[in-house]
Symmetry: C3
Subunit: 349 residues, 3 copies
């Protein structure tokens, strides 16, 4: 019997099953530096301990997406090693700030299973969470993936689809942000005078800049997250595959779009939630990523007058600037669009 | 009105204006590791806490150029986003050592403005400084850039050019170096027996080794410095531009030349000043950088017998070894030269 | 007289000579993050402080091979700058765990010298060791390299070859592992239920996954180790050389193979010894590395019932999966093989 990980097939999952994922991870200042080097993120709260302390953090927290990617990476060997497709994610809440030195583990619970009518595959729904060394859940999210069956001839009867929220409610947001001294939020240092009150629903922002991705960059990022999905690393195999080249981890695109969004959303220092996201088209090395945002909702947070939340639709494109705001069209999406994601962001008021 | 940063145009500057730059930055051991991985620097003082402590530092300071690049990067969105050309820098002093954990901010004062006769552009002179969390200025330098005017038809009348020193005087040097126990400066560990007394004015040193640069490397470096200059990152746009490819940040070349200079200047552990520098030609990925130095002056430091200063002319070339010391010629520079910089270095006596 | 390092020639060495190598190095969390980003290593003990503490470490130690590469890198300027070939290494013991913050220095003793019959070269045998800031030897190993003579016409008479063990004895192993609370060794977190008792001599494990290497990756790795061997960095020169391209540092291949071996050897968290290793063929950027292992011996460790040792033969190939276990054949090695190494690994019992 092989000692290598065969991954789980659709028949291996059951609703209610809890999977503790391998490779616990201490996140460090080294990870934060690499994250900056990979994406060029400039949000002041995550960049400077002094700035973070001046407004009420104990020190600069790690970038929310760095934490997301590390937790996500842990789930890959158990959840998606035999996945045909990563279908979506929803309801991702950032609950507790993560600081250098924190040790994270990841767990997933199977919350739904639905066999496809062809008998060859099924959809697995999991709620995954990241937990720190104190036992606090730092984030959780739902993901669903299409997974191969071992035996297409034997039906499983699984037909359970969980109900998922289109977006998190504002009263579920902001737990990861301490009460801030927003009078000390220095907008010269943060890079923009525009606070929560200055944005309006319906406003569109072209983030202007473009970033070209190299193979070494996305490979280093994805390994940093200890994400083992083979399609990102193996040119020998992928060169003979569908695309003829390595596929870039979708989370790399989200981080690039988020970093680009600083230009126009400089004070949106925290992602409170990822309501949902869709990788509309693949990204490959040598291509250039652009991004734009639309403000789709705005909410005060319960019992807080220091910060407020903006719900934005953040799109990324490849090899196409976003001055015309390319998004959905009658055929689905404009051809340049590669990412369509829906976020709640927190800004000072 | 756009919330993205339009950058400043020539008309937006006034002499005496002080600009506090965005994105404060805590520098860490992670940044130091990346700096080593990007350039392969081997100076013992910056490489080992134990070595640094043995001679009188509290711990290993960060590489001087890492600090320079981070401060420089902060100034880009305000000073040079609309620059046509980065014309030069001068009078850069390293005043206080920077250690992992220090939080830096950057400020610039406009010290000169001169409109060009064509009316389309003007030269902006700024003195930029980096400040740590204690309020100490860790470095300052003058930079001048040619910046676009918004309206070529309306003259500004600006005609103020600051006087700049050709080189810093020796009595302005060495503040960032604590009084050292030079008897404990272990030259086996530092890599060379040659101290300050062993170098002579007029001496030339071919640093021998060559280093080829990859796109992923200079992009990671430049993002680590949170430098947002678009020409370094966007192949979609640059592919259609003057060079057909991304331009490597000039500071990357300085750091490569400095790291190469270890072979011949191993004990020159500290850059006390950058008297001036000129990027003679652009560098692109795939090209190989070489370097050589000429000792052009030598100075004791006031009231110090532990260390002395060497003034060197450090040249970098591309795709050309430096055994023939390529530098200036009648036409300007030998074709292989890409960098000509003038430094004060500190060595043990 | 040149101040650049000419390296040592065969005539410069004498048996018994001790060389203290330049560039002491403090290893940090930043180095650990880069190591993860470069290889994607997933062993729980090195990945998580919380996991390491739960079994008896003071915190997560650094990856054994990161320490090896850093010590090895220090020896290059003195031992192998004028090497024609790196012939082998043997008897490498990991003696003390290395933690972030430790400061390392490296020393080599010449233990053998044998001039080749052609008079042009000789073989230099050194025992190199890495020492931490407390004076503890953290690892040592023997390496032998073929080095050029300055003067082929003058024989040196050197004819001393040290006797080297084929493998370290089990009673020499395990010093770097504290007594562990193996009941707390959580195999969900470590990624595999298979402990020492579950492996059998003769067992073969295909590690399945493949990893493609980029120029930027191996250059960053090799510079991180401050390894100055020119063939890894200088395309200008190497482009005209034997291979027409840069050669990847052999240690990079060992680290890739070790990281791939997690899939099948997840609980083999520590390399106790490298009995020997051979770089059968060169690796170049763009090629994909695969690996497989054979268990060739098994040993309890003296007076320890917490952990045991497996001796494995770890092979790496390029552009060839390992399902058929490619290794030695009548002609020497199967053409895909690039690395053949012999390790003692420690696992919980």
């Amino acid at each position: 019997m092989s000692k290598t990980n065969p991954g789980n097939f659709f028949e291996d999952f059951s609703v209610g099953q809890v999977i503790r994922h391998a490779t616990p991870r201490t996140v460090t200042e080294g990870d934060a530096s690499l994250y900056t080097a990979l994406y060029g993120s400039r949000f002041a709260v995550q960049s400077s301990d002094a700035f973070a302390r001046s407004i009420g953090y104990q020190r600069a927290p790690l970038d929310d997406l760095l934490v997301f990617h590390i937790v996500f990476g842990k789930t890959v060997p158990d959840i998606s090693l035999n996945a045909v497709a990563n279908l979506g994610y929803a309801g991702c809440r950032f609950l507790v700030p993560v600081f250098p030195g924190d040790s994270l583990t990841a767990t997933s619970e199977v919350i739904g299973l639905k066999e496809n009518s062809n008998g060859k595959t099924g959809v697995v729904y999991v709620r995954s969470c990241g937990v720190n060394q104190h036992g606090d859940t730092v984030l959780d999210y739902v993901r669903w993936v299409m997974v191969r069956k071992k035996d297409p001839a034997v039906p499983t009867g699984h037909d359970s689809v969980p109900s998922l929220p289109a977006a998190l409610a504002p009263d579920a947001l902001g737990d990861a942000v301490p009460i801030l001294d927003v009078e000390d939020f220095d907008t010269d240092l943060s890079g923009s005078p525009y606070k929560w009150d200055d944005y309006e629903v319906g406003e569109r922002i072209d983030h202007v800049d473009g970033m070209t991705v190299e193979e070494a960059e996305h490979q280093m990022a994805t390994r940093l997250y200890q994400n083992t999905a083979k399609v990102h690393f193996n040119q020998f195999t992928e060169g003979k595959g569908r695309f003829g080249r390595r596929l870039i981890y979708g989370g790399h695109v989200i981080s690039l779009a988020r970093a680009l969004s600083f230009n126009g959303l400089s004070n949106a220092f925290h992602i409170a939630a990822i309501n949902g996201g869709r990788h509309v088209a693949p990204l490959f090395a040598g291509e250039t990523v652009f991004a734009w945002s639309e403000i789709i909702d705005k909410a005060a947070l319960p019992a807080r007058d220091d910060v407020g939340a903006l719900r934005i639709r953040l799109y990324a494109t490849k090899d196409a600037p976003c001055s015309a705001y390319p998004g959905k069209n009658e055929a689905g999406y404009e051809p340049s669009v590669i990412l369509d994601t829906d976020l709640w962001l927190v800004l000072p008021r």
